[in-house]
Amino acid sequence: MSFQFSDDNLKQIEFLKTRYPSLDALSLPLLWMAQYQDGFISLEAIDEISKITKLPPMEIYRVATFYTMFKLQKQEKLLVSVCKTLSCKLCGSDEILDHLKSKDVEIEYVECLGSCGTSPVMQIKDVNYENLTPQKVDDILEELL
C-alpha cells in the first residue's frame, strides 16, 4: 500500500511551499495533513513526506515520535482525550475518568485543553466537550459510537 496526498492537500502543499523559506518547515504541516487524511501517520506517509521535504525519512520519523499528538498506529477504538490538569481534577475529572473506563473507548491523558472555566473537559476528534457529568458522557458517546 502506498500513500498519496489527496488533490486538495497537494494544492495546499504547493501554497505552503511559497509560504516558508525552506522545505524543512513543511514537515510539521505535512504530518498533520497525513494524519487527518488517514487517521494516523503510516510509514508510507513518512516516506512520501520525506520525498517532498527532501529530508531523510528518519528525520521525519523523529519529529513524528517527538509529539504525542501524532499517532503512528491506526486507532482501533474511539480516542477520548481527558484533561489531567489541576482545574479539571478539582472539578471532578476523576469521576468522569472512572466512568469512561467502563466504556469501549481508548482513553488518553492530556495536559490542559485550555477550557478550565468549563471543566471537566474531554476532547474527541478535535472537539472539546465541556462541563461534563457522567450522564453527559453517556449521551455524547451514544451519539458518536
Binding site: 531523510p56 525519512p57 528518519m58 528525520e59 520519523y61 515520535t65 517527538f66 504525542t68
Partner: protein, 453 residues
C-alpha cells in the same frame, strides 16, 4: 592560520585560532570527561560532561563547543566553580536509568561511564524505590550491530555518524524525555558498508558488535598496531589478540586506529571482519623435509622458470623475490585481475584492489599476466597458482589450498612478520610484528637464508 595563546591550569599553550577548546584539552591530556564529542563528528554539546571554568564567565562552559580566544584563561578542574561536583551531578543524571549490568556488558573495561564513575561519581543512587525506565534490550540492528537501548546515554554519536559521515540516516533518536531512545525506522535495518564503526563510536555498551559479543573481556586483550590488508587502502587498525592458557594466539577483533593521512578514524565492515581467515587453515609444515635439495634440483633441471609473486607480501619481500628471480634467470609475474573487485570500490575508504600491496607490484613493473610455457613455477603465495597448468610447482604459502606440487613451504602471514606496505595513494607504512605464535612459522626472509637462495 594564526596562533592564539590560551592558559589552561596555569600553563600557556599556543593553538590555532577558533579551534575547539576540547581539542586542546584532549591533546594535552588534561583530564576532561566527555561522551558526545568526537573528533570526526565534531561538537554536539548534548552530554554536558566536559564543563570547564573559563575566567570571566559566570557559569561553567562546555569545552567541546567553545572556540578558543586569545588570552582565554581556563581551569579544567575549576577554581571558583565546583567543576568536579558539576561533573558528578551530570553523571548521576546520565546514570538514572542505566541498568548497571556491567558484569554481562561487553563494553566493561572500555566504557566511558565506568571510567567517569570511578573518577567523578562514586555516589550512591538518589533514586530509592523508583523503577527505572525500561527499554528494549539486545535488538539486532543489522550489519552485525546489537543495540541495548537501556545502556544508551543519548550522546548521538551513532546518529551523527549515519547522518554526517555515511549520509545513510538509518539511526535516530526517537521519542522524548526519558522515552527517548536510539532506533532505526520500523522494519528497516542499519545497512551500510561502514556501519560497524558505530560500535567503536559508542562510549557505552549500547551498541556492541555481534561478532565480538561475549568472546573475550577487553582487559585480557593485547592491542598491537597494524594495518588492514583487505584492500589496497591499508587502513590503520589495532589487532586485539589474546593467548589463552595452553592455546595459541588468537585474534578477536580489528579496531580502527586514527591516521588522518590514510583512513581518518574508521574502517569498513569487510575489513574489520577480515581477521577471521587470517590464522585459520594455515600451512604449518613443509610437504617434504629436504626442501633445499628439491629446490636446487628443480631449478637446475628447469629450462624455463616463472616466479609468481603475490601482492600481499611486504615491499622488502617482493624486492628480495625480484632479486632472486633475476639471479636464477626467471621471469617474474603477478597477474592482477584476481584482486580487482569493481563493486567494492567507493569514494570513502574502499579500493577496488582487494590486496594490500598492489602499488609496489605496479611500481616495480612486474608482469601483469599469467606465466606461459614454464616447466617450473615457483609461487610466492599467489592465489592464481591453482589456474596454472605447469608440470612442476614449488609453492610458498601462508594458507592451505588444494594444489598438486612437488614442494609446498609454509610462510608467515603479515601479522607474524614486520615490513612495509605501500598503499594505493602511495603512502608507505612500516608495520611491526603483531603476533608471535607458539611455533613461529618462518618468514620468506628466513626461508631464503635457510635455503641459501
Amino acid at each position: 592560520m594564526s596562533l592564539v595563546k590560551v592558559t589552561v591550569d596555569n600553563n600557556t599553550y599556543e593553538v590555532e585560532k577558533d579551534s575547539l577548546l576540547i581539542d586542546l584539552l584532549i591533546k594535552e591530556n588534561l583530564r576532561v570527561p566527555y561522551f558526545c564529542y568526537h573528533e570526526a563528528l565534531g561538537a554536539d554539546g548534548n552530554c554536558r560532561m566536559c564543563m570547564v571554568e573559563i575566567e570571566g564567565q559566570k557559569r561553567p562552559q562546555i569545552a567541546c563547543d567553545t572556540p578558543v580566544k586569545d588570552g582565554m584563561v581556563v581551569y579544567s578542574q575549576g577554581k571558583k566553580l565546583p567543576i568536579k561536583k558539576i561533573r558528578r551531578d551530570i553523571l548521576e543524571l546520565e546514570l538514572i536509568n542505566h541498568p548497571v549490568d556491567c558484569p554481562i556488558c561487553d563494553q566493561a573495561g572500555e566504557c566511558s561511564l565506568q571510567e567517569y564513575y570511578m573518577e567523578y561519581g562514586l555516589h550512591d543512587s538518589h533514586m530509592y524505590g523508583l523503577d527505572k525506565v525500561t527499554h528494549h534490550k539486545h535488538i539486532d540492528l543489522g550489519s552485525n550491530v546489537m543495540l541495548d537501548q537501556e545502556r544508551c546515554v543519548l550522546c548521538a554519536r551513532c546518529t551523527r555518524f549515519t547522518a554526517n559521515i555515511t549520509h545513510t540516516h538509518e539511526l535516530g533518536i526517537v521519542g522524548r524525555g526519558d522515552e527517548a531512545h536510539i532506533t532505526t525506522m520500523p522494519g528497516r535495518k542499519l545497512d551500510n558498508p561502514y556501519a560497524m564503526n558505530v560500535v567503536d563510536l559508542c562510549p557505552v555498551g549500547a551498541l556492541t558488535s555481534k561478532d565480538f559479543r561475549f568472546a573475550q573481556r577487553v582487559w585480557f586483550l593485547e592491542s598491537s598496531e597494524s594495518v588492514c590488508t583487505h584492500c589496497a587502502k591499508n587502513c590503520n587498525i589495532y589487532i586485539d589478540h589474546n593467548k589463552l592458557k595452553y592455546q595459541d594466539e588468537n585474534i578477536y577483533r580489528f579496531r580502527p586506529r586514527k591516521n588522518l593521512e590514510v583512513n581518518g578514524f574508521f574502517i569498513c565492515n569487510e575489513g574489520r571482519l577480515s581477521y577471521k581467515n587470517l590464522l585459520n587453515n594455515r600451512m604449518i609444515k613443509s610437504t617434504h623435509v629436504n626442501e633445499k635439495d628439491i629446490l636446487k634440483n628443480s631449478i637446475e633441471k628447469a629450462k624455463a622458470i616463472a616466479v609468481l609473486v603475490d601482492a600481499s607480501l611486504f615491499n622488502e619481500e617482493i624486492e628480495m623475490i625480484k632479486e632472486f628471480s633475476e639471479k636464477i634467470g626467471a621471469k617474474l609475474y603477478c597477474p592482477q585481475d584476481t584482486y580487482i573487485d569493481e563493486e567494492f570500490e567507493d569514494d570513502m575508504l574502499r579500493s577496488k584492489y582487494k590486496i594490500a600491496n598492489i602499488k609496489t607490484i605496479q611500481n616495480l613493473n612486474i608482469l601483469d599476466e599469467m606465466p606461459k610455457d614454464a616447466d617450473l613455477v615457483i609461487n610466492f603465495n599467489h592465489p592464481d597458482i591453482t589456474k596454472i597448468d605447469s608440470k612442476e610447482i614449488i609453492s610458498f604459502q601462508t594458507h592451505k589450498f588444494e594444489l598438486e606440487t612437488i614442494l609446498t613451504i609454509p610462510i608467515a602471514t603479515y601479522v607474524e612478520n614486520s615490513g612495509s606496505f605501500t598503499n594505493i595513494d602511495g603512502i608507505t607504512q612500516h608495520l611491526k610484528k603483531a603476533i608471535t605464535l607458539n611455533e613461529p612459522i618462518p618468514t620468506i626472509a628466513q626461508w631464503f637464508k635457510r635455503l641459501e637462495l
